[in-house]
């Protein structure tokens, strides 16, 4: 199996703090990879390096055979990697539809003439995007799809997460990075959201997902393999059962039984 995403020996330092220490990480096409580890172990930093928000001092990131090390976030998105954020980053005053369209940026026309003067062409593009956004939301929650015209600020956390994932999926990426999608939700809500994610994955052939998660039940249920980080270092990898049995992982993160 060839890796869609491959990070080699990534090192990212903030002053004296080594957030990532020669981390190797790979995700095969179509796989769901879990990224786990205690708080501050470098999971989100790894996402930020992959998506171009931070620059790694050493190491390389390869995506679909192309070297994307140090590329700007905009280029990473265009290459086909999208993400959600640990602390949900939505445009709260804007409508659900507007928020999802932010994620659709690369597929929309941004010319001045198109947007200001060719209004019927614009209206056609709008109608098509609207139908797509609605259809995508429908997979997650038909009830939420009815609220596509409402401001995001009025929606509960679980719905905001769903919309954030819709925003990440609308441009049909090849790789989706989910940064703790269950943060701030109940067990029941988390289960619902994971069902949604699995459902969406079923319908989008070949979507690869990397998920950061603290709920081990979720990781066990949906991931094919896992990578465990501790103090910026990779300490274990393999199936969940294998890493859960790893002595080092138990000491660093899961706790010794």
């Amino acid at each position: 199996m060839t890796a869609l995403l491959k990070c080699s020996a990534l090192t990212c330092r903030f002053g004296g703090v080594v957030a990532l220490d020669r981390v190797d990480f790979a995700a095969a096409e179509g796989e769901i990879v879990g990224l786990i580890g205690p708080n501050g172990s470098g999971k989100t930093t790894l996402f930020n390096v992959i998506t171009g928000i931070y620059r790694a001092q050493e190491g390389t990131v390869t995506f679909a055979g192309t070297d994307v090390t140090g590329a700007r976030p905009q280029a990473i998105y265009r290459a086909g990697i999208t993400r959600t954020f640990q602390r949900s980053r939505m445009c709260l005053p804007l409508s659900v539809f507007d928020n999802i369209m932010v994620g659709n940026h690369k597929r929309l026309s941004h010319g001045l003439v198109f947007n200001l003067l060719r209004r019927s062409a614009f209206a056609a593009e709008f109608e098509q995007s609207f139908a797509e956004a609605r259809a995508l939301m429908h997979i997650f929650s038909p009830r939420l799809a009815e609220r596509i015209d409402e401001p995001v600020a009025g929606l509960p956390m679980i719905d905001r997460r769903r919309i954030e994932i819709c925003r990440a999926l609308i441009s049909r990426p090849r790789l989706l990075l989910l940064d703790e999608p269950s943060a701030g939700m109940t067990h029941e809500e988390t289960r619902e959201l994971m069902d949604d994610i699995l459902l969406v994955r079923e319908r989008t052939a070949g979507l690869t997902i990397v998920i950061i998660e603290h709920e081990m039940g979720v990781i066990e249920r949906i991931t094919g393999s896992c990578v465990v980080l501790n103090y910026g270092r990779k300490i274990s990898e393999g199936t969940f059962a294998a890493v859960a049995g790893d002595r080092q992982v138990q000491e660093a993160y899961l706790g010794v039984a």
Binding site: I53, C91, L92, D98, N115, F126, E150
Partner: protein, 388 residues
């Protein structure tokens, strides 16, 4: 539901026209005070009985009709006061400040680019008109867009510092620019120095606007024709800003204002949208300024102080950041009120400051808060309102 009937919108427009004419014509301070109290009471009562919601739904459903009614209202007001120099000057000034404030709306309201040098960009337009009428024979109709282009070009000096700074620092950069502009004019004798500069008359197809108008028995002030040019400029600016907002460009500008990191992760080029918003806003201010120069006939550096820039900012804060109609209401208010209350003329900055503080405290989104984006052919929110 009768939300599609244009009647409430038209009735509202009619009331506004009558009220506007009464307000413009009121001479005694007591009458002006009574009109303000009546407006406050009227709005409160209309809200109490659900009339405002009806009017709003009707305006939403019949936008073009309402636009036309408002334009007709300005024309009726101009005809009504066709001999009154001062009233027509006030009206023209209000229309032109609306254009400049619409420019600020694009910058500040959409893309989140602060600009505390609005008056300087207005001034660049004015001085462009002055220089071109004094030293060249460029036709005035061309001077208006040239004023906009000059403002955009000179404003482009600011693009790098504005892109590299955030928040207070970006504000300071623009404040510094405003002060530099005024100083530059003051020390520059070719531009009239502190004494100022004359601006030639606006002409259209050989007809000089500064000559009084006499058609048969109809006589009108020379400001009469300026009202119409200003109105055309405002209509163009309003259409531009509204279309911009209801497009993917408006969405991109909102997104970078609200969250730069998330926007970058979704491919939005932060600099591109900020530069576009800043440039478009300056073009609007510059065009308005070029015509304003013609209207005033004589301009001096003191017309374009930091205080005047603050007035432009207070217009968008009062009206509702990002809402073009809010800008219209607030600009009319800010221009006309101090002229009507001569007693407060001296204290008008104190009045604006007080008003802005009150609005920010009690109605932080302005008198007419911005609403969700409406796309062509679809009224967002309309269907949500219909749902049981």
């Amino acid at each position: 539901m009768t939300s599609s009937s244009p009647l409430p919108a038209l009735a509202f427009a009619a009331v506004m026209i009558v009220y506007g004419i009464a307000f413009l014509g009121a001479e005694r301070e007591r009458a002006v005070g009574a009109l303000i109290v009546a407006a406050a009471a009227g709005v409160a009562l209309a809200a109490r009985f659900g009339l405002l919601a009806k009017v709003r739904a009707s305006i939403d459903a019949n936008e073009r009709t309402f636009d036309a009614a408002v334009i007709a209202g300005v024309i009726i007001a101009a005809l009504w006061f066709h001999e009154e120099h001062f009233v027509l000057l006030m009206l023209t000034t209000a229309l032109l400040l609306m254009v400049a404030a619409l420019g600020l709306t694009v910058q500040f309201g959409y893309a989140g680019v602060v600009n505390f040098a609005g008056a300087a960009f207005l001034g660049i337009g004015c001085y462009t008109a002055a220089v071109l009428t004094n030293y060249t024979s460029v036709p005035p109709l061309l001077i208006l867009p040239l004023g906009g282009i000059a403002a955009a070009l000179i404003g482009s000096i600011l693009i790098l510092p504005v892109l590299r700074t955030r928040g207070h620092y970006a504000a300071l950069v623009t404040i510094a620019f405003g002060i530099l502009f005024k100083t530059f004019i003051e020390v520059n004798d070719a531009l009239g120095g502190p004494q100022g500069m004359r601006v030639g008359s606006f002409t259209l197809a050989g007809w000089a606007f500064n000559d009084p108008i006499r058609i048969g028995t109809f006589e009108a002030s020379f400001y009469f024709s300026y009202v119409f040019v200003a109105l055309v400029l405002l209509i163009l600016a309003f259409a531009l800003v509204r279309r911009l907002e209801r497009s993917w460009i408006g969405l991109s500008m909102d997104a970078i204002r609200l969250d730069e990191v998330a926007s970058a992760c979704y491919g939005l080029d932060i600099a591109r949208w900020k530069v576009l918003a800043f440039t478009l806003g300056n073009v609007l201010a510059g065009c308005a300024g070029a015509l304003y120069g013609h209207v005033l006939g004589f301009i001096a550096p003191n017309n374009f102080t930091f205080g005047d820039s603050l007035i432009l900012v207070s217009i968008i804060l009062l009206g509702g950041i990002g809402n073009p109609w809010g800008v219209a209401v607030a600009a009319a208010f800010v221009v006309i009120l101090p002229e009507k209350f001569q007693v407060i003329q001296e204290y008008r900055f104190a009045l604006y400051a007080g008003l802005v503080i009150l609005v920010l405290l009690f109605r932080p989104e302005g008198l007419l808060p911005r609403r969700l984006r409406q796309y062509p052919g679809r009224r967002l929110g309309a269907r949500a309102a219909k749902a049981p």
